[in-house]
């Protein structure tokens, strides 16, 4: 009986989505979504209910909870809430599976609620066509790869799965759907769809069988993607497109993280993904208060929105790998000596994180500072404050904790060459 416990989360999400789909006011839809997302998070974390040692399901559930809790009702209707819950349910189911074919089918299924939401609105109907072309191809390739793998055709399976994954994860040059989606769809839905779920889990299942050379090629493509997206994000004039490229860059970094750990990405990377959800939702919250956001000139009043601005900055710095946040630990994992990346790729990763930091600070300065004018916008609500407080506490404490444990001992360690010298404290590596 206990083997069915992990299904509680997806079941609660699916039932809630079905209920919302029957029609109800926006506010009630958000309340039900919030409850279902909370149940799914508890189900992935509760002792005794966790069948897999990976934190990936918990990260997906936490991302979903953040997306639902911070989705503004201005741009997110009941249909979008139902879509978020369905995407989460399918992603969670996919991460519970061990059969590549089941995972690939579930993964393909996550695109359906997003496509349905895009089709539902006149101004995104055209995009739904492009989305279907890209994600339909990705789904077909992943299922075909899983089938080939089950038939014993290892090499063709590897190639086909990789192309499918490259589309799903938005790697260059198969990425064009991703910025368009983030620009037009409700941000909560985009965040849930881009949560580190299916693609990475499928990657972890098939990556065990990959020869090292293949992994090297994929890592290189992912690093190039991260750098390309970071450069694109730093130069955008629209906040949504800048966010889209930031998400794309982080998605590529996550692929590298997954490949480096030869399985599901390690905890720090998963927490960074939850921080990204919070960061994206801070933009959604600001957009709901102020309308379309431009990055061309400073146009915000920090005094009006100090908490939203602080949350944006702290979560953004965490994404950009700033010291004292979990992002630093995550980047450390990629660029450290223990990793298998070449020195050139590690330097490219550093350049990508530097550009991401520039994009984050540009967003902070242009959206939250530079003018005394305001539109009467209010700072965070109690619900938003609670979620942002929890997120920032998690991101900072998880980033500072390693420093608390190693920094004093590292600083008090002997200088090399000193008579008391016993060991070279030569960590961490960046």
């Amino acid at each position: 009986m206990t083997q069915f416990y992990p299904l509680l989360g997806p079941l609660a999400l699916w039932l809630a989505a079905w209920w919302i789909d029957r029609g109800m006011p926006d506010r009630k839809a958000r309340m039900i979504s919030l409850s279902a997302a909370g149940v799914s998070l508890v189900a992935t974390l509760a002792p005794g209910l966790v069948l897999r040692s990976s934190l990936l399901p918990a990260a997906i559930a936490a991302t979903g909870l953040v997306a639902v809790a911070l989705s503004p009702l201005v741009r997110t209707g009941p249909g979008a809430f139902a879509g978020i819950l369905q995407v989460l349910a399918l992603s969670l189911l996919a991460t519970l599976g061990h059969n590549p074919l089941v995972v690939a089918i579930m993964g393909a299924g996550t695109a359906w609620p997003v496509w349905r939401e895009l089709r539902a609105h006149e101004f995104t109907r055209g995009l739904a066509r492009a989305f279907a072309l890209y994600l339909g191809s990705s789904a077909a390739l992943m299922i075909l790869g899983a089938l080939l793998s089950s038939q014993g055709y290892a090499w063709p399976a590897v190639g086909v799965v990789l192309v499918g994954l490259a589309i799903r994860m938005g790697l260059v040059p198969l990425h064009s759907w991703l910025p368009a989606l983030v620009e037009s769809a409700p941000i909560g839905l985009s965040v849930a769809f881009l949560a580190p779920g299916v693609g990475l889990h499928l990657l972890s299942l098939v990556a065990h069988g990959f020869p090292g050379q293949t992994l090297g090629v994929v890592s290189t493509i992912a690093v190039v993607s991260a750098l390309f997206a970071a450069a694109m994000g730093a130069g955008q004039s629209s906040a949504r497109r800048s966010l889209a490229y930031l998400l794309m860059s982080q998605s590529a970094l996550l692929v590298v993280g997954g490949l480096e750990s030869a399985g599901d990405p390690p905890g720090p990377w998963l927490l960074v993904q939850v921080a990204i959800a919070g960061f994206a939702m801070a933009i959604a919250g600001l957009e709901a208060r102020r309308g379309p956001l431009s990055l061309d000139r400073p146009s915000g009043n920090f005094a009006r929105l100090p908490r939203l601005a602080t949350a944006f900055l702290v979560l953004g710095l965490a994404i950009a790998g700033f010291p004292g946040t979990i992002g630093y630990v995550a980047i450390e994992h990629l660029t450290g000596e223990a990793g298998s990346l070449s020195i050139a790729l590690r330097m490219a990763l550093l350049a990508a994180t530097a550009l991401n930091a520039i994009a984050v600070l540009r967003g902070f300065f242009m959206l939250f500072m530079g003018t005394a004018q305001h539109q009467g916008e209010q700072d965070t609500t109690r619900r938003e404050s609670l979620v942002f407080s929890a997120l920032m506490a998690a991101v900072v404490l998880a980033g500072v904790w390693p420093a608390i444990t190693w920094l004093p001992s590292t600083l008090s360690s002997p200088w090399v060459g000193h008579p008391d010298f016993q060991r070279i404290t030569d960590r961490p590596t960046r």
Partner: protein, 424 residues
């Protein structure tokens, strides 16, 4: 051991505790009173200053000099600002960022390896950026803060890449003790040393506003005067020379690198002294004066006069902090003097201007007004091109998705094709 554990507890825990308290109370919307804020910051760094005497081996000269400067100046600035920023809306933000700066400097100075130094280096960078944008209701401080951050971040890539490179070629970035100084070990092979040295020099140039990355420094003076004094007169601006002192063994192995450091330093000093002479506001003039001295310090380090450079750093930091803090009241005094004399005060510096041939003077004047053309070159030639390239690629991307989003049919393809070609 260079530091006993109790000293470190005082040195590290109190400032961290103060920072956490200031941040949490501010986030909760219940900031501490001004008096309590100043008292806490002063107490934390006062006790930290006492903690220096508990260091077991205080003979590492740069560490002790920078730590003492850090704690004394942060304490003084905290006391000075309690009146200067009294009832300013950003009072608590200022003290929060001041504490962050002091912690960053502390980590940089106490770090036993380049890896740990990076942590403090980046903390100083973000504190500096946010303080430049302190007066956030005006667009210019915000733009200037962003400009400074871009410079910091780009040059930080040099520092972190330098650490990666040293791990790759030497296996360590630990600072090795040799007499009164600690520094990096030079990797085997001249090529590897030169690469590491170039990356670290690049990092130093950004942090210390050396040419061609000098444009952000006068603009950084948009922040409150006390923060300008401690960042760009005393602590942050001297982190570049500090890094070079830590990297001195690398430069000692390569005459080419040393010559490059001297060249960068002297070029900056020359550029800053010429440009500083045409500045019409006192803080910009002081920024260029600061840049001149830091350029000279870099040249001293390149020439191997390390102790002299350290003395120069300490002396310059103290003098420049005093000058910047004095500058607002000095303007007031000048106005009084001019009113009393009934005329404009006589100009200074004629003796230098007489040394410059008359034919050069217009050219130099133009050069100084344009700030050496470095700013426009970086803004239009580098950043502008980058942004234009990125936006062109993005337009192509959008056109491609627009093409795919069209319903199938000859007309749709034709429209999308025109869109791709950029025709209306």
């Amino acid at each position: 051991m260079p530091f006993n554990s109790h000293s470190l507890e005082v040195l590290l825990a109190l400032p961290f505790f103060t920072l956490a308290l200031l941040a949490i109370t501010r986030w909760l919307g219940r900031p501490l009173s001004e008096r309590l804020t100043v008292g806490l910051v002063g107490l934390a760094f006062g006790l930290a200053l006492v903690g220096i005497f508990g260091l077991d081996h205080p003979e590492d000269l740069p560490s002790v000099a920078f730590l003492a400067l850090d704690f004394v100046l942060v304490g003084l600035i905290a006391a000075f600002s309690s009146r200067y920023l009294h009832r300013e809306p950003g009072f608590h933000r200022f003290y929060l960022l001041l504490t962050l700066l002091a912690i960053g400097i502390e980590v940089v100075v106490l770090s036993p390896s380049l890896d740990v130094l990076i942590v403090g280096w980046e903390l100083v960078g973000i504190a500096s950026t946010l303080l430049i944008a302190f007066f956030h209701h005006r667009p210019n401080p915000v733009r200037h803060a962003f400009r400074a951050f871009i410079t910091y971040r780009v040059c930080d890539v040099g520092l972190i890449s330098g650490a990666l490179w040293l791990h790759h070629v030497a296996g360590t970035t630990a600072f090795i003790r040799s007499g009164d100084w600690a520094g990096l070990a030079a990797p085997a092979g001249t090529g590897a040393t030169v690469v590491a040295g170039l990356l670290l020099l690049f990092a130093s140039m950004g942090k210390s506003a050396q040419v061609p990355f000098s444009g952000w420094l006068p603009r950084a003076m948009e922040g409150p005067t006390p923060s300008s004094a401690i960042f760009y007169g005393a602590l942050s601006i001297h982190l570049g020379p500090f890094l070079l002192l830590r990297s001195a063994p690398l430069f000692a192995h390569s005459p080419l690198l040393s010559a490059l450091v001297v060249l960068v330093g002297l070029s900056t000093a020359l550029h800053a002294t010429v440009t500083g002479r045409v500045q019409s506001d006192i803080k910009s003039a002081l920024a260029y004066a600061s840049m001149t001295q830091v350029g000279l310090i870099m040249a001293e380090i390149g020439l191997g006069f390390h102790t002299f450079a350290l003395v120069h750093i300490v002396g310059h930091a103290c003098l420049r902090t005093l000058e910047i803090l004095r500058s607002p009241s000095l303007l007031h005094d000048h106005h009084h003097l001019e009113q009393a004399m009934g005329s404009v005060l006589p100009r200074t510096g004629w003796h230098l201007e007489r040394l410059v041939p008359a034919t050069w003077q217009p050219w130099l004047y133009r050069y100084a007004l344009e700030r050496g053309y470095f700013d426009s070159w970086l803004k239009d030639g580098v950043i502008g091109r980058f942004v234009r390239l990125v936006r062109s690629i993005d337009r192509l991307d959008q056109a491609w998705i627009g093409f795919l989003s069209q319903p199938p049919g000859p007309r749709a393809i034709d429209e999308a094709g025109r869109s791709l070609r950029g025709t209306p």
